[in-house]
């Protein structure tokens, strides 16, 4: 460990002399770190990379869709692009996104622990993720895959002539990184909570991640084995799904969605956890209905496993199974509704400030609501028959995943940026981009609801002319959105060097993570904190424990 001094504000009282960033320098100190905060930053870098790769594919797709003829890309090219867009965005950006970056960084601090239970496993999970990413990038560079991110058989097992096995391996491998992260979180939350931190004093962020981890543990292995079976079928002619042997291609869909529906909750639950933190801090109020929000996370995770067949209403599935899956899909929407209403109620009689993270939180609630409500259109059997596999579905999930989760992710990054980097980001730029993202987003994806109900199928490289105007709007929106995503990248990097020093608790927030220096020391806390109150203790008259830390 070198003793070089940080290129930092000498003499600034709020800047800790030694912290997790300056304790050691050099590539080695990062690649061999066992510190959950550094691993979170490794994830942050790699996840961001994949987001922009996925985004670049999206841009090319949108450009192609400006005109009804397929003139910019070949049909094969387009098919590869949406597949690789979906694969990178889902498996390499959104699923690890909030949990492996923010969850990794914050969970030990939020529960007053020095690290996760298995730090080496944590680092291993990042390496596994990178390995999986390399396989996928290899497949991309080698020419890509064209099966859609859903890999339906028999197309993927027999007919596709692109790099299916390579990509499948990539996803299989990253699956294990997700399993290890989930395992680590579950064990950590069970065994490493600080004295006094009972389950119902945990921040809702932790509850949400616990529920997410449960899904990772229970769902991911099924995806893993399914992918292995497809790869074996492709490579050795093993005939698990082969219709020529009497095999059932719909079986593949069951196994795939048994993971991939719950996986959509992997993508949204952590974001919901972020929102609970943001809303309380910027309305300076304890959360409304703590227990309801906590249990709604758990029940989303549990019920989420019972509805996968709603992706298969018209796939040749039994109509009775379809009905079971439909009614259960409506039931799983209830806990989401609970959260939305409780967040809104939290604002009542709060003291609300419009900081950047809060703007993202508002955006999340609105767009998630729209995305979720259109989910109800899709789970209504007779209506899904018409909108299934049209742009209506594409709009539905982008509203939740981009309008919801990506917004929450950005909100979270801004909120905890002072903790991560020790510096403040430029607030004016922050608010401006939040607005740009919101506008760009709606312009991109709202027209897709309309064009979807009109009947434009998804995964279409060329389309009938009457859909053009709406598609052009969507492309225009995407370019605004693209700008909105590049700007934060620039100013956040800028702020790492030039931003004002944040101090331990710039938001005067109440979570344990704010009770230590920014950036924190490697072991997070000088002494293990003792918890004496409920989470979100914003209204207590005495200066919160956070203020104590500030005088250090």
């Amino acid at each position: 460990m070198s003793e070089r001094s940080a290129a930092a504000p000498a003499g600034s009282p709020a800047w800790p002399r030694e912290h997790y960033l300056n304790i050691a320098y050099g590539l080695r100190s990062w690649l061999l770190t066992k510190d959950h905060k550094r691993i979170a930053l490794l994830y942050l870098a790699s996840v961001t990379l994949f987001f922009f790769i996925g985004g670049a594919f999206a841009v090319l797709m949108r450009l192609e869709l400006m005109t009804p003829q397929g003139d910019l890309l070949t049909a094969d090219g387009y098919n590869r692009f949406f597949t690789m867009h979906g694969v990178t965005m889902v498996f390499f950006f959104l699923i690890p996104g909030v949990p492996a970056v923010l969850g990794n960084f914050l969970i030990p601090m939020m529960i007053g622990a020095r690290d996760l239970a298995f730090p080496r496993l944590n680092l291993l999970s990042w390496y596994i993720y990178v390995l999986g990413g390399l396989f996928t990038l290899g497949a991309i560079l080698g020419g890509g895959v064209d099966t859609g991110w859903t890999f339906y058989t028999p197309y993927s097992s027999t007919y596709a002539n692109s790099h299916v096995i390579m990509t499948a391996l990539g996803i299989f491998i990253t699956g294990f990184s997700s399993i290890l992260t989930g395992l680590n979180f579950i064990v950590t939350v069970h065994t490493m909570r600080a004295p006094g931190l009972s389950w119902f004093r945990l921040p809702l962020f932790v509850w949400a991640h616990y529920a997410t981890s449960a899904i990772m543990i229970l769902g991911t292995p099924v995806l893993a084995i399914t992918i292995v079976l497809v790869a074996l079928e492709r490579a050795f002619g093993l005939g698990i799904f082969d219709p020529a042997l009497g095999g059932d291609p719909v079986l593949f869909q069951h196994l795939f969605w048994f993971y991939s529906h719950p996986a959509v909750y992997i993508m949204v639950l952590p974001a919901m956890g972020v929102i609970s933190e943001l809303i309380t801090c910027f309305s300076r109020k304890r959360i409304f209905g703590y227990t309801f929000i906590a249990f709604s996370s758990v029940s989303i995770a549990a019920l989420g496993f019972l509805v996968w067949g709603h992706h298969m209403f018209i796939s040749g599935q039994s109509i009775y199974a379809g009905m079971i899956f439909s009614v259960l899909s409506f039931l799983v929407a209830v806990p989401s509704a609970i959260k939305v209403f409780n967040w809104t109620a939290t604002l009542h009689k709060g003291t609300i400030s419009y900081s950047t993270p809060m703007l993202y939180a508002f955006g999340f609630i609105g767009l998630f609501t729209i995305g979720g409500l259109t989910g109800l259109f899709l789970s209504a059997l007779g209506l899904d028959v018409h909108v299934h596999d049209t742009y209506f579905v594409v709009a539905h999930f982008h509203y939740i995943m981009v309008g919801g989760t990506v917004m929450a992710y950005l909100g979270g990054i801004h909120f905890w940026w002072p903790k991560i980097s020790g510096r403040l980001y430029p607030e004016g730029w922050g608010r401006l981009t939040a607005l740009i993202v919101f506008i760009g987003f709606n312009l991109t994806f709202f027209p897709q609801f309309v064009v979807g109900y009109l009947g434009m199928p998804r995964r279409y490289h060329a389309y009938p002319e009457e859909f053009q105007i709406l598609n052009v709007m969507s492309t225009a929106g995407a370019s605004i959105l693209g700008v909105g995503y590049v700007v934060p990248l620039i100013y956040l990097i800028w702020s790492m060097r030039y931003g004002p020093v944040a101090g331990p608790n710039p938001w005067d927030a109440r979570g344990l993570e704010w009770r230590t220096a920014s950036p924190p020391i490697t072991e997070n806390f000088e002494t293990t904190p003792v918890v004496t109150s409920e989470a979100y203790d914003y209204e207590s008259a005495e200066p919160g424990p956070a203020t104590e830390a500030r005088h250090v």
Binding site: A244, G289, M323, L383
Partner: protein, 319 residues
């Protein structure tokens, strides 16, 4: 029902089947609910955000942090709306699987990347489907390779077309005209080119169209020829080794393992391609498989022939 922009681009799809208007009703209901809820929530947020903004002198005494009555309201009210919507959607869906008895059968084979359609009268077409208006149509569909999906937006109907299996789809067009036919399940390179037209005609015009062109043999005739060519009749005759096939379609067949099934198209298909899978009670598993010897179209022709041998008089009943 079709609104449009000045430029002529539609914003709402044409409705041209008996089902379409009913699907639209459910859609508009849900749009109403969604607009209402989104407005309620976003106006609520905006109202609170302005009223209780930092620095504003609002009454902040006695803030609440939980309330059973409110929780119950916002659990129960959505639940009721949800279950109502479920029931509505389920009814529509169920009826979408119940073709009327007088539905006109048409056969569809999907393959990368075209739709091959054959009318029972023998007329074939590719990527086009001519049908009469006001007449229920029942499609029996299968695929030669990967999964496709037969989608006619104007009718609000769609069904996956699977290899190795039959799926069915029915609709009744209410307006003449030309409508899009899309393949809605990703099926490889030219998925987006696997498009066609559904042409809805007046019944008289449809009859003329059917009769026009080269008068080929009907599907059943073609099937009868295949039946001879593949020597099916060596076994399937009186006193032969296999059961008589007259009036077998839609009858209840007893199987060796004690179960019984309705001899629908799927069953007949399986009997020809994988005879051993379900052995008819009282017979030996001697029938050879014709897998790989018959194309999907030929199988459909054989089935149409078997269907032409009649159906049982009364409803198939539980044994």
């Amino acid at each position: 029902m079709s609104a449009g922009t000045p430029a002529g681009a539609p914003l709402f799809p044409e409705a041209a089947s008996t089902l379409a208007g009913r699907v639209d009703d459910l859609y508009l209901f849900l749009v109403g609910v969604s607009v209402l809820m989104t407005a309620l929530i976003s106006l609520g947020i905006i109202f609170f955000a302005v009223r209780y903004r930092k620095g504003a002198a609002a009454d902040r005494s006695n803030p609440r942090h939980h309330s059973w009555p409110m929780e119950i309201v916002w659990i129960v009210v959505p639940l009721i709306v949800f279950l109502f919507t479920f029931a509505w959607g389920a009814v529509l869906f169920y009826e979408g699987f119940l073709p009327p008895d007088d539905a006109l059968p048409i056969y569809v084979v999907g393959k990368q990347w075209m739709w091959k359609i054959q009318h029972p009268g023998g007329k074939r077409e590719i990527n086009e489907l001519h049908i009469p208006v006001g007449q229920p149509i029942r499609l029996t569909m299968t695929s030669e390779d990967v999964i496709h999906d037969f989608y006619v937006p104007a009718f609000r109907v769609k069904r996956d077309v699977l290899p190795g299996r039959y799926t069915t789809l029915w609709f009744e067009a209410t307006r003449t005209g030309e409508y899009h036919l899309f393949c809605a399940e990703y099926c490889g390179t030219n998925h987006s080119a696997m498009r066609g037209r559904v042409i809805v005609m007046e019944p008289a015009a449809f009859q003329t169209w059917l009769a026009g062109g080269i008068a080929g043999e009907t599907m059943a005739e073609a099937g009868a020829r295949l039946f001879e060519r593949y020597n099916c009749d060596t076994c399937h005759r009186l006193g032969g080794r296999g059961p008589l096939l007259a009036r077998i379609y839609n009858s209840r067949v007893r199987l060796q393992d004690g179960r019984s099934v309705i001899a629908d198209e799927t069953y007949l298909r399986q009997s020809i391609l994988e005879p051993a899978a379900r052995i008819t009670a009282g017979y030996k598993p001697v029938m050879p498989t014709f897998q790989g010897q018959l194309s999907e179209t030929q199988v459909l022709q054989l089935i149409d022939y078997i269907k032409s041998l009649g159906e049982p008089e009364e409803e198939p009943s539980e044994p």
